[in-house]
């Protein structure tokens, strides 16, 4: 088939040049769009700004994943280790024990263990957490606010547009640089 191969004409070379130029120009334009914003040098991922979050519970259902990529996170350094933890207990618990009817968490994802009198440690069992933020609401309202919601990046698929960001009434979902993917609270920062 070699003898049937078309000759390369001047027109072909011109065509290649024009196509290449077109592609380069488009790449340049997009590059300008990328550089115009702040976080252009690195990839960005989605994250919840805990200071904006209003614990509306939409994170649990708006995410494209089931269960949601959003889960509660505990900043231990900010925790008061309260015996009566309003992140853990219902508003008016019958007694301060781990019986299911006393717990605020609908899936029992918070583990309460005794440390020393009168302190208790609260650990989130992430596979059970559905990201509803009920514990966050309790902790923010009556406690130190050491529980907060974060997008867990081992689960997040980093959609073009985050479905939670579209639903969030508080505009709390922001893009953050991928090398600093968490927005932590209080003493945990840094």
């Amino acid at each position: 088939m070699a003898n049937e191969r078309e000759k390369v004409t001047r027109r072909d070379i011109l065509g290649f040049g024009l196509r290449g130029l077109g592609a380069l120009a488009a790449a340049g334009g997009l590059g300008a769009l990328a550089l115009r914003g702040k976080a252009a040098t690195t990839e960005t991922v989605w994250q919840i700004d805990p200071d904006k979050c209003t614990e509306c519970e939409l994170c649990a259902t708006a995410c494209v994943l089931t269960p949601s990529a959003v889960k509660a996170v505990h900043a231990y350094a900010q925790c008061g280790y309260c015996e009566l933890c309003f992140g853990f207990f219902e508003d008016e618990p019958n007694s301060l024990d781990t019986a299911a009817e006393n717990q605020r968490c609908p899936t029992g994802a918070i583990k309460r263990t005794f440390v020393e009198d009168p302190y208790y440690q609260y650990v989130i069992d992430e596979p059970l957490c559905i990201g509803c933020g009920k514990c966050v609401k309790g902790c923010n309202a009556f406690g130190n606010g050491s529980l907060f919601l974060q997008v867990r990046h081992d689960r997040c698929v980093n959609c073009n547009q985050c479905a939670i960001a579209t639903a969030c009434p508080a505009d709390a979902l922001v893009r953050v640089p991928a090398d600093q993917p968490y927005l932590l609270k209080g003493r945990e920062i840094g």
Binding site: F16, R19, G22, A23, A26, A27, L30, G31, L33, A34, R36, G37, A39, A40, E43, V45, T54, C56, L58, V64, Y76, A77, Q78, G80, Y81, L84, D91, E92, P93, N94, S95, L96, E116, Y119, Q121, E126, N140, A141, F142, G143, N144, G145, R152, H153, C156, V157, N158, C159, N160, Q161, T166, P169, A170, D171, R175, A178, P181, Y182, K185, E188
Partner: protein, 428 residues
């Protein structure tokens, strides 16, 4: 539990005095040797893996072009399709994809504070650049959305030309709407109603699963309904593919006018030879063109006007607009109670004046955006009519580069291909 209740109500009393998120209970200093567990921070996917995605996309595009144009191998393209479903579909969960990236580009143009991620930019650009050289290679075997439809196609029915042309206008409308809502920062429609993403994520809302099931069911008898009659990215590829360096040439030397390729194409992309004489006569053809040219500005104006008046309805897709109108109604006492969205406004303590100002700015954007979208729809319909009334001359059956998805099904039906691959001689 009286003591508890006392603590609880006592807390309620002091609460207003405390600022949001303050440490009400100082973290204890433990006497025992207690160490707090570290807060787990799973890291996102490594950055180099995103660049690997780009490399895989580029390689797949080159391979698709090679398989469809040089090797003319349907089997090879099918293998590539399966790979794309596995990698871009199930492994990458369908995100980021070039089809959705149109909206990221629109958002970056419309909202200066949004920086277009480099990976998304590359995903937007690579298939378009490839289209300038090898046509719609992306559609042929790389796009996971097209792949899902390609493998469910059982028995393609022939579609009447009028229906095909009428539905062919939809992608342009969808593209216009996607750009409008993305550029105003309201919604990513294409992602929200992506009919195949629920397969790749193995989850989805009932609405989305319904769309998926419907689209796959239709896809068994209509070749790639999403690609042909909805895909907004396909519009861009459609514009660029006619300028491709290499094209799908079904008969490489001489077409024998057997129309087997036309019967083989499930996507209606083969154009027929035109009759020697214009069926309605020259005069009739010319007056039809003139009528449609005159109709064009009327359609433009009508579309623009309709779009302008629909702008405020479109604006309710934006959350700020919804919040502002809800809070306004609550303040006026016209509605009782609060919603999640208005609660968020009160909780953040945003002044109502700022919210209303932001909302009216977005409404103005939507008035102009609606006008442009309406005019765009009018223009697309008008131009479709004009192009339909322009007579073209074709002597052979050929693949329309704009519509051809380069799936490679037609090749093996062409008698010339049989001669080329010496299949006939082997059979004889």
């Amino acid at each position: 539990m009286k003591r508890l209740r006392a603590i609880y109500y006592g807390l309620l009393l002091i609460l207003p005095a405390l600022a949001f998120g303050v440490e009400r209970f100082p973290p204890p200093e433990f006497e025992s040797h207690y160490h707090a567990p570290a807060t787990q921070m799973p890291v996102p996917r490594a950055e180099w893996l995103f660049y690997l995605d780009i490399a895989v996309l580029a390689a797949a595009l080159v391979l698709a072009g090679y398989l469809s144009l040089k090797r003319r191998s349907r089997r090879g393209l099918f293998a590539l399709t399966v790979f794309s479903i596995a990698y871009f579909g199930f492994f990458r969960h369908g995100c980021v994809c070039p089809v959705g990236s149109v909206q990221n580009v629109a958002l970056a143009i419309g909202q200066p504070q949004y920086a277009l991620p480099i990976v998304v930019g590359a995903f937007f650009l690579l298939p378009l650049a490839a289209a300038l050289f090898v046509g719609r290679a992306f559609c042929a075997g790389v796009c996971p959305l097209g792949a899902a439809q390609d493998i469910v196609l059982l028995k393609p029915l022939k579609m009447p030309a009028w229906l095909e042309h009428a539905l062919g206008v939809l992608p342009y409308i969808y593209l216009g709407a996607a750009v409008l809502f993305a550029a105003t920062g309201s919604a990513f429609l294409v992602c929200q109603y992506d009919p195949f993403i629920s397969i790749y994520r193995t989850s989805g809302t009932p609405l989305l699963l319904g769309i998926t099931a419907g689209m796959l069911a239709v896809g068994t008898v209509v070749g790639r309904p999403y690609c042909r009659f909805l895909c907004p990215y396909g519009v861009l590829l459609r514009w660029l593919a006619p300028f491709a360096r290499w094209r799908v040439n079904i008969a490489q030397k001489e077409c024998v006018q057997c129309h087997l390729c036309k019967d083989a194409c499930p996507y209606g992309a083969i154009r027929l030879p035109t009759p020697a004489e214009n069926p309605g006569g020259r005069r009739e053809g010319r007056s039809r063109l003139a009528r449609h040219l005159l109709l064009l500005p009327i359609l433009l104006a009508a579309g623009g006007a309709l779009g302008y008046f629909s702008g405020s309805a479109f604006a309710t897709r934006h959350i700020t607009v919804r919040q502002a109108s809800r809070v306004w109604l609550e303040q006026q006492g016209k509605v009782k109670g609060t919603t999640l969205e208005s609660d968020a406004v009160y909780q953040q303590g945003q002044p109502l004046k700022d919210l209303l100002r932001a909302a009216s700015r977005i409404r103005r954007q939507f008035d102009i955006g609606g006008l442009l979208l309406g005019a765009w729809i009018g223009l697309v319909i008008g131009l479709k009519l004009v192009f339909l009334s322009i007579r073209r001359r074709r002597t052979d059956y050929e693949a329309d580069p704009a519509a051809c998805l380069a799936c490679g099904r037609c090749y093996r039906f062409c008698p010339e291909e049989h001669a080329r691959t010496e299949v006939l001689e082997k059979i004889g």
